[in-house]
Symmetry: C2
Subunit: 524 residues, 2 copies
C-alpha cells in the first residue's frame, strides 16, 4: 500500500471550537480537497446527525476526480449484533466503498467511558469489522487512544489491532487521541507494533503537545503508510495534525510524490478557502500557508533576502502558493521600505534617501498613533502618493453626519454627506445597515455618475480593534476595511478615538485607492 | 551546566508581524518572565536602536528575583577591531553579566549575505568573543543557521563553534534560523556535534516547518542544556519555539524541575499577558495555554470527560493554569448543556429533559441566525434565565437614536434613549466616542442613581465580525462586547443586519448580566 493522505476536516475538524459547517460548506470543501489531490475524505458520521446523512446522499452526485469518500462510525453498541445496529447499517447505506471504524484500544476507556467488559469491546471490533467486510466495504480501523493504551496495557492495545486485522481491516490507524505523545515515544511504539503486526499502519495525531506534525512524521519515518489530519489543523481542543504542514514536509523534504506540483501550489488557497468557509480568522504565522510565513521584518533579514532568498527561507514560497512579503515597520530600515515601494510598482530612482527618510518618519509617527500598515497596504500606497506625487484628490469632503433610530426593536440608519467631486458640489443622503454602511452608500451615490464601475466594488470585511490606552489616555479604535471588486481585494486603515471617524478615514482610503487604480493613473 | 530556559520574546519575538513593544511593554514583560522563573531574558540589541539602549538602562533598577538579562548582538563588523566596534562597546556598557553573540555558521551567508571572506568571519568570532570575555562578560554563542550550514559545509560550521569555544564562550547555541529542519535531522546533527565539541550546547529553533517544539525536544533528548524560545511562539515569519509548549513538556513529561509548580500555574496567564501586551489576539487552540486547549465539544468526549477527565486530557489543565470547558453547540447533546448549566451555577434538578431540549432548540436556532455562544457565555446565561426563571427585566427600552456629525474632520457622537428603569420613565442623552459608546454612556447615566457601582464597569473590547451571506442574503454582523468590573470580565453577543442594532443587543446583555450578578440574585 503506497503512502496516502486522509483528510478529516469535515468530521474531526468540525469538532473544533467555533466551527460549524453547513451541508453546503461540507460539499464545497469536498470539491476543493478532491481537486487538491487528497486520497481519502472522511465525510462525516452518518449515524450521528441528519446533516451528515444528507452529505452522503449529495456527495454521490459530485463526480470526484480522485478522492474516495469514507464514512465514519464507532463499533457497534454493546450486546447487540452489528447487523442490527442502526449506526452500522447507516454506514452500509451511505453509498461509499470505504468506512472508518473507531474503537477503544485503551483499557481505561473501555472500563471507565464505555463501562463494559474488556472482552465485549474485542467482540464489538470483531463483529463490526467482519460485518462491514461481508457487506463488501473496505475497512480502515482507527485504534482510538492507541498510544496511551499501549503504554497502559500493551497486550490489550495490540489485541484490538490484531482482532481488527483478522476480521479483515485493510489498515490499522494508530491514534494519539489526547495529543500528548512525544515524537520519541511514537517512534518507539510504531517500531514495536510493526514487529507484531503485518497489516499496514496509519497515524492520526492531535496537537495538544504542539507535536502533531512531528508525531505524524515520526510514524511515517517508521513506515506508516497513511497520514490523517485536517486543513489548518482544525479540530477538537488544540486540533489535529495540520495537513498544510504535513503535506509539504512529505513532498518537499522527504521527496514523496503525493500531489502534483500544480496541486501543491493550491495549498495556501486551500487553507484560506477552508478557514473562510469555517468562518475562522486565518492564522498569520501558520507554517507554509500563513500570510506571514515568508514575511521579513528585521532589517538584516530583509537585506539578506534581497541578495539571496534562500538565506532566510527554508523553501520557495511559490511551491505552496504563498509569497514573499516585506514589512514596513519601526524595525525596518530603508531597505525594507525601498523593497516595498518597488513591490507596489514605484520607480525607485524617483526616491532620494531624504524622501525615503521622510516617509519612514511619517509611517513611524502614524504607527505610534495606532496605525498598522502591515495589514493595510492600500493605505500605505496612498500615503506614498500623497507625500511624493503631484496628487489631486478626486474629491473633497465638507462635512457629514449619520444617525440611527430604533423603533419597535428595529434600527434604521441614514447618512448625509456634503462633498465636492471633480470640483462639483454634491449633497447626498443614503440609508444603510448601520452608520458606516450608510456613509459608504453615500459615497457610491455621489461617485456613480462619474465612475459607474464603482458599483462593482463592495465592502467585504470590517474589523474593529480597541487599542488599549495603557498610558491612561482615551482608548482609540483601529478600523480595517477590506473592499473587493471583481478581481481583487484591498485593505485600508483608520484610527481615531471616535469609531465613526476611524471608519470614515478607512472608507475614504478604500474608495480613493480604487479610484487611483481605476482611473488608470500609472504608479510611476 | 544544568538545563536552563532562555526567553527571546523581547528580541526575536518582537520581529513577528504586527508586533511592536514599547519600552514600558518590554519592562512589564521582563517582570512577568522573571516571576515565572525564566533563567535568561534576552532584553534586546542595544546597538540596534535607542529603545533597546533605554531598556538596558531601566532594567538595572528592577531588582529581578531570578532571571539574568542578556544583551544581544552580532559579531563585530568586518575589518575593524572588536574593541573599536560601537555595537560591541554598547554590549559592555549595557550593564549585564551575560551577552549573546550571533555569528554566521553557514558559508552561504558569509559569502552571499555578509559578502566577506570565510576567514574574516572566523576572525570576527574569535575577536568578538575574546574581547567580551576580557571585559569580564559571560558569552553565549548563537551559531546562526547552524543546521543548514552543517548540511552544506560541516567542517566550516563546526569550525565556527570551535573558535567560539576556544575564545571562551560558555555555551554554543545551535540555531535552526530558517526553521526548516526535521526532528530526525536535529537528532543526528546534535549527536555528531556532541562528538566533536565538549562545550555545552543549546537549541534555538524556528517554526517554519511546524516543528520548532519537536526540534527543541529532539536536541534536549540528545543533551542540549539550554532551550531558547518565546512566549506563545512569537517571532519572525512563523515564529520561534513556543516556550508555552516546551516548558510543560520538559516539566510534566520529562520530569525536569525548571520552575515550581506554582510558577507553572502562571503559564496561561503569562501567555495572555504577553499576547495582550503585544496587542495580539490570543490563539484559542494554542496547546496548553489556549482557551480551547481543554475544551470539549463532541458529545462522546463530553460524556467521557464527565466520567473521568483523563480519558480526553493529556494533562490536568490546572497544572498550567488552564481550565476545562464544555461547549454548547449544535454538535452538543444534552450532556454538554447540563454540564454547562451546572458549571455556571444552576441546580440541575430544576431542569427536566423537556426544558433542556427546549433550550437546546433555542440555542441552535440562534446559532443558525449567526449567534455564537461559545465566546459569549454571559448571553447564554441570560438566555437560560429568560427561558426558565421568573425573570423581571431590570429595565424596558422604548426607543433610542444616535447621531454622529463631522465638522472640520472631527466627529462628534451623541445618543438619546427612552427607557423605564424599575418602572420609572427616564429620557437621557449622552455623548461618546462613536454611537455605541454614546449609547453605553446613556445606559450608565440612566442606571447610576439606581446602581451606583455601575461606574466600576467598563467596556473593554468590542469586536465586529461580518458574517458572509454565502446564500446571497444580506450580510449580517456579529458583535461581541467584553465588559469588566474590578474583578472579572464577561462577554455578550448581538447579531443583526444593522451593526447598531447588533451592538445594542450585546450592550443590553452586558449591562443586564452585570445587574443580575450585582443585584445579588442567586442563580438557583
Amino acid at each position: 500500500m503506497g503512502l496516502t493522505l486522509y483528510d478529516t476536516t469535515l468530521r474531526d475538524g468540525s469538532q473544533g471550537e467555533g466551527i460549524s459547517l453547513s451541508l453546503d460548506d461540507k460539499l464545497r470543501i469536498t470539491r476543493q480537497l478532491d481537486r487538491f489531490g487528497i486520497d481519502f475524505i472522511e465525510g462525516g458520521w452518518p449515524g450521528s446527525n441528519p446533516k451528515d446523512e444528507a452529505y452522503f446522499r449529495e456527495v454521490q452526485n459530485m463526480n470526484l476526480d480522485h478522492a474516495k469518500i469514507t464514512a465514519f462510525s464507532s463499533t457497534r453498541r454493546a450486546n447487540i449484533r452489528a447487523a442490527e445496529d442502526s449506526n452500522i447499517l447507516k454506514l452500509v447505506e451511505a453509498g461509499v466503498d470505504y468506512v472508518t471504524i473507531f474503537a477503544k484500544s485503551w483499557d481505561l476507556h473501555v472500563t471507565d467511558a464505555l463501562q463494559i467488559p474488556l472482552k465485549e469491546n474485542i467482540e464489538m471490533i470483531k463483529d463490526t469489522v467482519s460485518f462491514l467486510k461481508s457487506e463488501g466495504l473496505n475497512v480502515f480501523f482507527d485504534a482510538e487512544h492507541f498510544f496511551d493504551g499501549y503504554l497502559a496495557n500493551p497486550n490489550y492495545a495490540l489485541k484490538t489491532l490484531k482482532v481488527a486485522a483478522e476480521a479483515g481491516a485493510e489498515l490499522l490507524i494508530l491514534c494519539d487521541t489526547n495529543g500528548g505523545m512525544l515524537p520519541s515515544q511514537v517512534t518507539k511504539i510504531v517500531q514495536e507494533v510493526k514487529a507484531e503486526c503485518d497489516t499496514p499502519l496509519g497515524i492520526h495525531s492531535h496537537n495538544d503537545g504542539n507535536l502533531a506534525v512531528a508525531n505524524s512524521l515520526a510514524a511515517y519515518e517508521e513506515g506508516a503508510v497513511q497520514v490523517q489530519g485536517t486543513v489548518g489543523g482544525l479540530g477538537e481542543r488544540c486540533g489535529n495534525a495540520d495537513l498544510c504542514s504535513v503535506i509539504p514536509a512529505l513532498q518537499l523534504k522527504y521527496g514523496e510524490e503525493l500531489v502534483t506540483s500544480e496541486q501543491l501550489k493550491q495549498l495556501k488557497p486551500l487553507y484560506f478557502f477552508v478557514t473562510e468557509t469555517a468562518n475562522l480568522i486565518p492564522i498569520n504565522n501558520k507554517p507554509y500557508v500563513g500570510k506571514s510565513a515568508f514575511t521579513h521584518k528585521g532589517g538584516i533579514h530583509v537585506s539578506a533576502v534581497r541578495k539571496n532568498p534562500h538565506t532566510y527561507e527554508h523553501i520557495e514560497p511559490e511551491l505552496v502558493g504563498n509569497e514573499r512579503r516585506v514589512l514596513v515597520s519601526e524595525l525596518a530600515g530603508k531597505s525594507n521600505l525601498r523593497y516595498k515601494l518597488k513591490e507596489i510598482g514605484f520607480n525607485l530612482e524617483d526616491f532620494s534617501d531624504a524622501m525615503i527618510k521622510k516617509l519612514i518618519k511619517k509611517v513611524k509617527s502614524l504607527e505610534n498613533q495606532g496605525y498598522q500598515f502591515e495589514g493595510a497596504e492600500a493605505s500605505l500606497i496612498l500615503l506614498a502618493f500623497r507625500e511624493f506625487k503631484d496628487y489631486n484628490p478626486f474629491f473633497e469632503i465638507e462635512d457629514f453626519r449619520t444617525n440611527s433610530v430604533n423603533r419597535d426593536n428595529k434600527t434604521y440608519s441614514e447618512a448625509v454627506v456634503k462633498m465636492k467631486v471633480n470640483g462639483e458640489k454634491v449633497h447626498i443622503a443614503a440609508e444603510g445597515d448601520g452608520p458606516v454602511n450608510a456613509l459608504d452608500n453615500c459615497f457610491r451615490k455621489a461617485l456613480v455618475s462619474f465612475y459607474p464601475e464603482i458599483t462593482e466594488t463592495k465592502l467585504i470585511d470590517y474589523k474593529v480593534r480597541v487599542l488599549n490606552g495603557n498610558d491612561g489616555t482615551a482608548a482609540k479604535v483601529r478600523v480595517l476595511i477590506e473592499t473587493a471588486d471583481l478581481e481583487k481585494s484591498w485593505t485600508t486603515v483608520g484610527v481615531s478615538t471616535n469609531i465613526i471617524q476611524a471608519s470614515w478615514d478607512a472608507l475614504l482610503d478604500s474608495i480613493e485607492y480604487w479610484l487611483l487604480i481605476e482611473a488608470g493613473i500609472s504608479i510611476n
